[in-house]
């Protein structure tokens, strides 16, 4: 076989996708696997979004969509940014991608030259680092201590910025920790970023509507308006509206960046499914009650998961402010042996043994830059979560 490109040598397959695929494969073999690996709501897409997709298909809305998004969806996105974030973006400041992932990928590919640095608060969604690498960039992680609620400290971000820094990533509520800074804490980060005018800022707001205990959402371009002309604000329909399969993400940014991202997308995939775009416009503009109903359900699940995990010997679980993940610490389980005879020396060993012996799929903290932890998604039905947490407790109790 002729050889392959070096560009992908240090890039890994998305670990949550790999774990989900493994769980799916075990399930196909008839094994009763409960997957807490995926960041995917278990709810159905909103009925009005489904109806809009149906109508779009019937009326022949099946042609090449405009590369950067349909005018109708871009208008709905502009209204969303205004309504939820008090941000004004015009049609040439908005792009629609195949999921938030492509919006970030486009942003990186449009801006990163070889050796440019991307500052990523850690633990972090691992795709940030891999996407930076595909673009030839260098990920620079900033550790966010658990005793600061996994939130980045402004002085740590300041210290990580160099003349080669191209991007600073912000993701609140965060994947995998669910951490959310207060508006004041975010403003302090904004103050630091104002002092570094050569840096782009990416705010990944995908979990915006999943906030608990009365926490309020804010995003950097709104909190520190002086940063808006170099901020890419990323959001999408996947998490808020349970529309992961439809693959609709979007970004708001200055027109010159959007133009570069548009050109990039033109070479990678062109437009996004016309049917999906019609559904997304309906989701954004339609009734929003489902969002609050589901948020309340997630909050109950979070409380239950945190309580059940803290009851598992060797596991300690911080209670996060948002998203649908918890990121428990497994330090108390290391050095032990599972009932099936597997030695647990790392979080990777832990999740592998848990999957093999108890058929519960989680993702090791190492995949997010912090060990020994694991990411547990509670975006699945309450009964399955209860069962899975029970199995985790049993797994931990049986460790010797």
């Amino acid at each position: 076989m002729p050889d392959l490109a070096q560009r992908l040598n240090n890039v890994q397959v998305s670990p949550s996708a790999a774990m989900t695929a493994k769980a799916r494969e075990m399930r196909a073999r008839g094994i009763n696997v409960i997957s807490l690996a995926n960041g995917e709501p278990d709810f159905a897409s909103p009925p009005h979004a489904i109806e809009a997709a149906y109508q779009a298909a019937l009326k022949g809305d099946t042609k090449y969509p405009p590369q950067g998004g349909t005018p109708a969806l871009k208008a709905a996105i502009a209204r969303k940014f205004k309504r939820d974030n008090n941000l004004d973006y015009g049609p040439d400041e908005i792009i629609v991608g195949n999921g938030g992932k492509q919006v970030i990928f486009n942003g990186f590919m449009a801006t990163i030259d070889p050796g440019d640095e991307v500052v990523i608060p850690s633990p972090f969604w691992v795709s940030y680092a891999d996407m930076a690498k595909v673009a030839g960039g260098v990920p620079v992680t900033v550790s966010c201590p658990q005793n600061n609620g996994f939130k980045p400290r402004p002085e740590d971000i300041d210290a990580a910025i160099t003349p080669r820094t191209k991007w600073v990533m912000l993701n609140f509520p965060g994947n995998p920790t669910g951490a959310v800074p207060s508006r004041t804490e975010l403003a302090a980060i904004g103050e630091v970023l104002l002092r570094h005018p050569h840096v782009w800022i990416l705010s990944d707001d995908m979990y915006e509507h999943l906030l608990y205990d009365g926490h309020k959402f804010s995003t950097i371009a709104e909190v520190t308006p002086g940063l808006k002309d170099r901020t890419l604000t990323v959001n999408g329909c996947s998490k808020t509206y349970a529309m992961t399969g439809w693959r609709i993400g979007f970004g708001g940014a200055p027109a010159r960046l959007i133009k570069g991202m548009f050109n990039m997308q033109g070479q990678a995939t062109a437009g996004v499914s016309s049917i999906g775009q019609a559904a997304a416009a309906a989701a954004l503009d339609g009734p929003q009650e489902l969002v609050e109903e589901r948020r309340a359900i997630y909050e109950q699940r979070r409380d239950m998961v945190v309580e059940m995990l803290n009851a598992a010997p060797g596991v300690t679980c911080h209670k996060p402010e948002g998203a649908f993940y918890v990121f428990p610490n497994l330090a108390g389980c290391l050095g032990k042996t599972s009932k099936g005879g597997r030695t647990i020396e790392s979080d990777t060993d832990f999740v592998a043994a848990l999957l093999e012996e108890k058929h519960v799929a989680c993702v090791q903290g190492a995949a997010y830059g912090l060990s020994p932890h694991m990411r547990v998604s509670y975006a699945t039905d309450t009964a399955s979560i209860t069962e899975a947490c029970g199995r985790i407790q049993e797994f931990c109790r049986e460790l010797r």
Partner: protein
């Protein structure tokens, strides 16, 4: 510090966009414009396919799928390739992407190292050289004579291959010429490729179902199975099933390459729309009569267009084997002046004057790396085509 990456500077500005933008502006100003510039079927997606999409939504198939596609769709692709070409593939040799374009993007970015050469017969779809450039490769454009039916001759291929050659990219049938290779013609090319074991082969068969007068386009692997470990066979549902807006393309390739493409895709977009994937399963495995009905219409239109264009002074139009394009030469018009007083110096001035004076929108040959010609898409109604060709005839006849 500059904010946009060098890689975007390597992508040529889209030559088609300027023409399309002008056509749109004239239309908005109330002019009677006939668009022959579009690269998509004018037919709507078949009803059984739409119904399958709607049924999938109702079953809740609105979640993430495996990055490389659903098992059902990967299996459906295997069945289709077996039925159409007698080639056996396993599902793990298949990757589903957001349009054929993403297949090209994934394959080239997964393999090209800086400076690698990619041989592209011209006229060609300009995305090939653009994606090669984006991947830091070097496009090697080989011009195919109109006298050879716009087909690459084996000696041309042999002469273009160097130790730096990474890819040979073939589009069969071809956009923009409609030229297609039968098994014997392809065999002559594969004999050359057999002598160069370090070259990857990409065959873009997206127009494979669209050929007329009993002509059957072959694909590389049916004429030379020994190239299997270095060939990517690309196809999709956009053209054959009038599904451009759904964004589904696929690759069949060696597992080692599919894995790399899967990895890249997992970090750029993840899976393509779950709803569109369900629709594509029905397209590939359901009733195929639609293609014949559509093909009848295309054949009738092609015959009319070729005849009418050849009656226009200064034009010469081959009758191509497939796709839904013709690519007439306009060199007989160079040096003349239009009724509107425009001097025709090249294919671009021809197409611009044609649009402004008659309202017929085509794409000039330079946009396909082949000046002196223009592309007409006959994927529009017979009445539109007849009117447009009449206007072209008058436009040419009135030149002096």
């Amino acid at each position: 510090m500059k904010l946009i990456a060098d890689r975007l500077d390597r992508i040529s500005p889209s030559l088609t966009i300027a023409m399309t933008t002008k056509a749109r502006a004239l239309k908005a100003a109330g002019r009677d414009i006939i668009g022959l510039a579009s690269g998509e079927p004018d037919f709507d997606t078949p009803r059984n396919v739409k119904d399958a999409a709607i049924a999938a939504i109702e079953r809740g198939e609105t979640k993430y799928t495996d990055v490389a596609g659903t098992p059902a769709l990967r299996q459906a692709v295997c069945s289709r390739l077996k039925a159409d070409h007698g080639i056996e593939f396993k599902p793990e040799e298949i990757l589903i992407a957001t349009g054929g374009k993403q297949v090209i993007f994934d394959a080239l970015l997964a393999t090209i190292n800086p400076g690698d050469e990619c041989i592209i017969p011209a006229p060609c779809w300009v995305s090939y050289p653009d994606i090669v450039e984006l991947a830091e490769g070097k496009p090697v454009i080989v011009a195919c004579d109109q006298n050879s039916g716009f087909k690459l001759r084996p000696e041309q291929l042999e002469a273009a291959i160097t130790p730096k050659t990474k890819w040979f990219l073939l589009n069969n049938p071809c956009n923009p010429t409609g030229a297609a290779y039968n098994a014997a013609e392809l065999k002559a090319l594969t004999d050359v490729l057999m002598r160069h074991p370090d070259v990857w082969i990409f065959t873009d068969d997206i127009y494979g179902k669209l050929a007329y007068d009993g002509f059957r386009p072959a694909t590389i692997l049916e004429v030379e199975p020994r190239l299997r470990d270095r060939t990517v066979t690309m196809n999709g549902v956009s053209k054959a099933y009038a599904m451009t807006g759904w964004r589904i393309g696929y690759a069949a390739a060696p597992v080692a390459l599919i894995k790399q493409m899967d990895k890249l895709q997992s970090q750029s977009t993840s899976n393509t729309s779950s709803v569109s994937q369900a629709a594509a399963v029905e397209a590939l495995t359901g009733p195929q009569e639609f293609i014949g009905v559509m093909g009848e219409a295309y054949k009738r239109r092609r015959d009319m267009v070729v005849e009418m264009l050849n009656a226009a002074p200064g034009l010469h139009c081959l009758k191509p084997e497939g796709a839904f394009y013709v690519f007439p030469s306009m060199t007989g018009c160079i040096g003349k002046t239009t009724a509107g007083g425009v001097k025709i110096t090249d294919d671009e001035t021809f197409c611009t004057a044609l649009l402004e004076e008659t309202g017929v929108a085509c794409v000039h040959g330079a946009a396909f790396m082949y000046p002196g010609h223009f592309r007409i898409s006959y994927a529009t109604s017979d009445a539109n085509l007849k009117e447009a060709c009449t206007r072209i005839q008058k436009f040419c006849a009135s030149m002096h």
